[in-house]
């Protein structure tokens, strides 16, 4: 039985809520909610990874003379890597959706062509060479 006001409950429900919000948003039809949803998912996974080393309070991650026990330092390194990668990816997808909006005039994520997409892209390929 986990007490309602424990740190574990707080984190677990927080991760759950963020994942749920993220999953809902990525299923919408516009690019902006999808990007926000992806960000929520990455926040959720970052906190999730952080808790994978178990929740400890006031313990040093690396060597300390006074320490009697240590917290796991590896998840923190993993989270840092994950944050850097997802940050870069989010920046890319933001630019991508902006370019898509500017070139097609809509921020709809569906692939259904509004006519002439194919010919346009083919002529573009030819022109830029």
């Amino acid at each position: 039985m986990i007490p309602i006001l424990s740190m574990e409950f707080l984190l677990a429900s927080g991760i759950g809520a963020m994942t749920a919000v993220g999953l809902y948003l990525i299923m919408l039809r516009r690019t902006f909610p999808v990007v926000v949803g992806l960000s929520f998912l990455s926040y959720a996974v970052n906190v999730f990874l952080f808790t994978m080393g178990r929740l400890n309070i006031d313990l040093p991650p690396i060597f300390s003379k006074e320490a009697t026990a240590y917290t796991d330092p590896l998840p923190q390194a993993l989270v840092l890597t994950a944050i850097v990668i997802t940050f870069g990816m989010t920046a890319l997808i933001v630019v991508l959706s902006l370019r898509g909006f500017l070139e097609t005039g809509s921020d709809d994520v569906t692939l259904a062509s509004q006519g002439g997409d194919e010919a346009e892209s083919a002529s573009r390929d030819g022109a830029s060479r």
Binding site: I26, G53, L78, T86, I93, G100, V109, D117
Partner: protein
Amino acid sequence: MTSQWLIVPVAVPAMTAALLVLAMHYGYAVQRALSVAATGIQLAVAIGLFILASDGESRVYLLGAWPAPFGIVLVLDRLSSIMLLLTAVVAFGVVLASIREWDTRGRHFHSLFQFQLLGVNGAFLTGDLFNLFVFFEVLLIASYGLMLHGGGPKRLKAGFHYVAVNLIGSTVFLFAVGTIYAVTGTLNMADLAVKVPQVAAGNEALLAAGALLLFTVFAIKSAMVPLHWWLAPTYGSTSPAAAALFALMTKVGAYSIIRVYTLIFGADAGPLANIALPWILPAAILTLVMGTLGVLASRSLLDLVCYALVASMGTLLIAVGLASAEGLAAALYYAVQSTVTSSALFLLAGLMARAGEHASAKAKAYTPGTAVLGLYFLLAIASVGMPPLAGFLGKLLILDAGRTSPHIALIWSFILITSLLLILGFARFGIQTFWSRPRAADAAAAQPMPAMLTAVIAGMIVVLAALSVFAGPVMENMTAMAEQLLEPQRYIRAVLPPAATAGLVGG
């Protein structure tokens, strides 16, 4: 056994890619020379590593000389060496074919190309689960750039889907890695293989959830039904050179499935033994069916090739799902030949589109010449699995390996029926394209075919023929590889220090 050569397939593209960014101002000639030279070096090293690995030893490179399981390790065994060699061969062909055809349509093509090779080579070599995630990201980031190379609205829309799907995949990967780490306390694959069978009774479900989440990620990468929808729009809207290289990326997914579910969650994994196996065979059969239906419904060569690639992933994964030495050997043989075939077909689609641009304003009105017809015919034969090219032998080997399976009726009927439907699909497309009456205006505007591109496609067909002629020695190697895979103790002993492997039996 340690070998310093293992770092070369990772280090060479990494340094070349950075150099190529700096060489932007020196024009295309310098970039092309650098890129081709670097890919050539990778090819030579891959051949060397293949010979090195063919003695059956697993070789290890400790990054920063940190002992396993604390540092990151690169591991070379037969499977990695075969995949490295395949990557190098395909990449060498594609880089030659891209010269003057596709590399001038946007900036940094060669740089992105080398970054992509860095990710693919790294994924094949790494012996660490989190490092596998990092190399996945490297190859994905490069693939986003390559996929969008040249631009255009259609490409941007499809690119958004591709990036979004893979971002979700990366998130799931991290959830899976986190769960596995929480239960076992390690991410080194060899160490995981030791620790997973000893999992505490209460944590089995958690570890199983992690293992299956991981399988979902690899299923996305290998375009397994129902996670295959991203492939056709993405590959179908990118440049043919990029698509030809991307044919390798689905194999990274298949490789990861083979590696993780033989080494970590294989037959020796105690309560979690063969955890993904019940899912592979049904999903693979569905993938084959969906790919075949896609081929029948395709109207352009690019779409046709995309769905043929999905179908070939289905066939390949059926062989993986057999979980026997024969099945794995057949799967690898099929993977090698289908990658080369798909790459060549993507390049051919580019060749036809290219000639069509010159012939008339509407690409559809173009009627290709006899040489293109010949190349298409040979590649169609290879793709659907008709004799005498290697596709036939690949399917035959898979059918043969399926004889001992309890699901023989299912496997045989689906592979044989879909082969017939694939023949129909390819034949119909060929008839519509090549046997329709040429228009006078088009005949007048006939253009000489780009020589390098044609030569590369022909070279890939020669590789397929060689795979067919030397099928005996190749299969001996593949069988040895499959036996090595099914004895994970050899891998574990090579990676971990002797004290950690004292409790292991067998091998």
